[in-house]
Subunit: 442 residues, 2 copies
């Protein structure tokens, strides 16, 4: 890393932001006016708009509508360089990161925002036989599996049509939104020739555990009306190639297990040599500082941020990542400008989840920190329109925003998704071509 | 295949269209008002808008903007069923097709429109070491390779930046358009840190051999101005992992050989048991009928159609496929309606090729069948706007048309392509996740 001098001849400080999810992106944005060399480091050259992954997984959106090139996002921020690489360790002595390709990257200030990984909670068979839905690659894989299954069913359907079953594990926002999208997917991809049965399994007593009880009830009623077999208070004890086993001993046969039940902090946190929480998160102080490492902050899913007076850290949710990321960026700016740090305070702006076309649940606090009975709680089209508006505003980059809006409008009017084309994966053999193609092991 | 009866109790005729390229799509459209059961059979569930493949290969468009779901295209044509399958043989005795999955499909009328394959002309090393650009899968693979190469170069570039070399083989429209797009790709994907040198090799004496000499000259001047090293009258005799050898003995080092020099008719033609031309095409009569097989027609790249008085069959070009496909569909409609067949006549509406942003060459006949000196020939922005207009009109399906228009407008204004995100292929290992991932052999 070169360290060019600023106009007055002093070395400009180097800021490294590790991870380009919501936290890293907003940290980088918060540093846009700072006289520093900022490096945004991620293993991909794109940001993933995670709340819409389930729309890629179910063929409603194309991957390129949910992933946006980082250099395009930051093309008007000249103090920032995008670098693609995977960090394997941190050398605290000389303050540098080492990447898998052997290169190193020095820093004066570091923002750790590497996010989370899928967590299968040690359930036997789950890693091998389920489709997680946490990265864009996960979503592309799931889409390919679902579209292949539907095409095959359409080709071999008898006069009564074909019936495909899916099991979604986890009743949080991802599970609920995926289950809702699956109920209409078969009809939209292959028409009436195949139907897709959806079972949604949640170990807790209600769906959307982070929401109010009224919203949970709205979601439950609505998903059941859409034909989803919702199982509450039931946990999966094993996954097999052709189904799942529940704690009750019941076996539910399916060729498609979608895992939406949990994540854990990025394994990278273990390489940092700092004390971690039970979930692998880095416990930070109210200034988002990593203990014992001056100039180092953590944000997003990687950080355990416990508000003063609370017992539990803030949940791993996009709004928390956005706010902590922005705050971590501002803290680094304060250090560079020699102004005092400020404590982070989370502003809860409510929660939303989509259940289907034109249908969602939402809850909005009437004032900051409002208790549950001062939260607006509603469902149906109004909630969906609110969801649409918020997501369009939050989508990073004008181009994607406009495109996704058109796509949604089009999908809404025609019931056809952009992502419903069954692309051959780049290394699957193609038909009788003389090109030597590469086989995939499975 | 069920054979439901029509309103008057008679069995409705079964029409099978084999291939959903330009020819198959237009044949299907021509049959939209016919009382028949039409099956459109293709190995993919999407149509590929082939003239824009090079924009996917170079990261300007997302694959979903160039591939459009067949069921979406034909959702308002109730007499048509889309079926995904790969035909391996035809049984002429009982008039049925057999697919690779063992299923069969009977027909009363058959339109063969299975298109073409890449042809490496037996050049040693070319199938193993070059990137063809003929299918959407080809384009996705090439994009992945180019984006990976650029990201790697950006990470390891010294103070003078990194230089990447590419060799494009073939100076037809695909080769010329790809070379033009490559000249600006590096800057648009990773910025000034890497440059991409392009060598374009054409065995013939000029670029765009199917165009007039003036257009060829315009294209040559323009590509050279853009920095492309154009080699005319030079042929490639071998490809290696790190370069190509020319007939002159010269070795051009490169890690990226793009093959745009030729196609041949689909191998399926050999399974038909009919006499073929040297290029594997089916010679049809002026009515587009396949000799000795009543009710069977061929169209597009699979058919050799020699206009009366001409020596050579019509070229393998999208406009020819569109017109022959439409005519084949109309012929089947005539047979079903017991009206006489008509001879096919090609209407040459001109040719176009894009050289870069806001730049193209075009030639338009002033009247049907006009000789070269009665063809408008021009380049620059006017030709590009014409190209844009024609492609938007021809793009199948409103949704894609509007989206691609927005995309182009956006790319034109910002120099950023939608397809520049480097997606992990679905079966590549992802980073330290507990998910058991699948390795790719290369």
């Amino acid at each position: 890393m070169s360290t060019p001098a600023s106009a007055d001849g002093r070395r400009r400080p180097c800021v490294v932001i590790l991870g380009a999810g919501f936290a890293g992106l907003h940290a980088a944005h918060a540093l846009r006016h700072v006289d520093a060399d900022i490096t945004l480091l991620d293993k991909n050259n794109y940001h993933t708009f995670q709340p819409l992954l389930y729309q890629v997984g179910t063929g409603y959106l194309a991957p390129e509508e949910v992933g946006v090139a980082l250099r395009a996002v930051f093309r008007r921020q000249p103090n920032l360089t995008v670098r693609v690489g995977e960090v394997v360790s941190v050398n605290w002595a000389d303050r540098s990161l080492r990447c898998r390709d052997g290169s190193t990257l020095g820093f004066d200030y570091l923002i750790l925002a590497a996010g989370a990984h899928t967590n299968f909670f040690g359930i036997p068979g789950m890693p091998e036989h389920s489709w997680p839905l946490y990265t864009l690659t996960d979503a592309i894989r799931l889409r390919h599996h679902l579209l292949s299954t539907l095409e095959q069913a359409a080709n071999t359907a008898g006069p009564d049509g074909a019936q495909i079953t899916t099991v979604v594990v986890g009743g949080g926002p991802t599970g609920v939104e995926t289950a809702g999208a699956l109920t209409s997917m078969a009809h939209e991809v292959v028409g009436p020739v195949a139907t897709l049965a959806v079972t949604l399994i949640e170990a807790g007593p209600r769906l959307l555990g982070a929401f109010t009880k009224r919203c949970s009830q709205l979601a439950l009623t609505d998903l059941r009306r859409r034909g989803v077999d919702v199982r509450l208070g039931q946990s999966v004890t094993a996954a097999h190639p052709h189904g799942v086993t529940l704690a009750s001993g019941e076996h539910i046969p399916t060729d498609t297990i979608i895992w939406a039940a949990g994540v854990q902090a990025n394994h990278l946190s273990r390489a940092l040599g700092v004390t971690l929480t039970r979930h692998g998160q880095i416990p930070v102080d109210p200034q988002l500082r990593v203990p014992d490492h001056p100039g180092v902050f953590a944000a997003g899913d990687l950080a355990a941020i416990t508000p003063p007076g609370d017992q539990r850290p803030l949940p791993m949710l996009a709004p928390v990542a956005i706010e902590t990321g922005r705050h971590a960026g501002e803290q680094v700016a304060r250090l560079i400008h020699h102004t005092p740090l400020t404590a982070f305070r989370y502003h809860d702006n409510g929660l939303m989840a989509v259940l289907g076309r034109g249908d969602a649940v939402a809850e909005l606090p009437l004032f900051p920190g409002a208790p549950n009975h001062y939260r607006l709680q509603f469902g149906g089209r109004a909630a969906w329109l609110l969801w649409l508006g918020v997501h369009i505003v939050y989508l990073i980059g004008f181009r994607n925003r406009l495109q996704v809006l058109i796509d949604w409008a089009w999908s809404y009017l025609t019931s056809r998704g952009a992502g419903a084309i069954l692309l051959t994966p780049p290394n699957t053999p193609t038909a009788p071509s003389p090109t030597p193609t590469r086989s995939i092991p499975d």
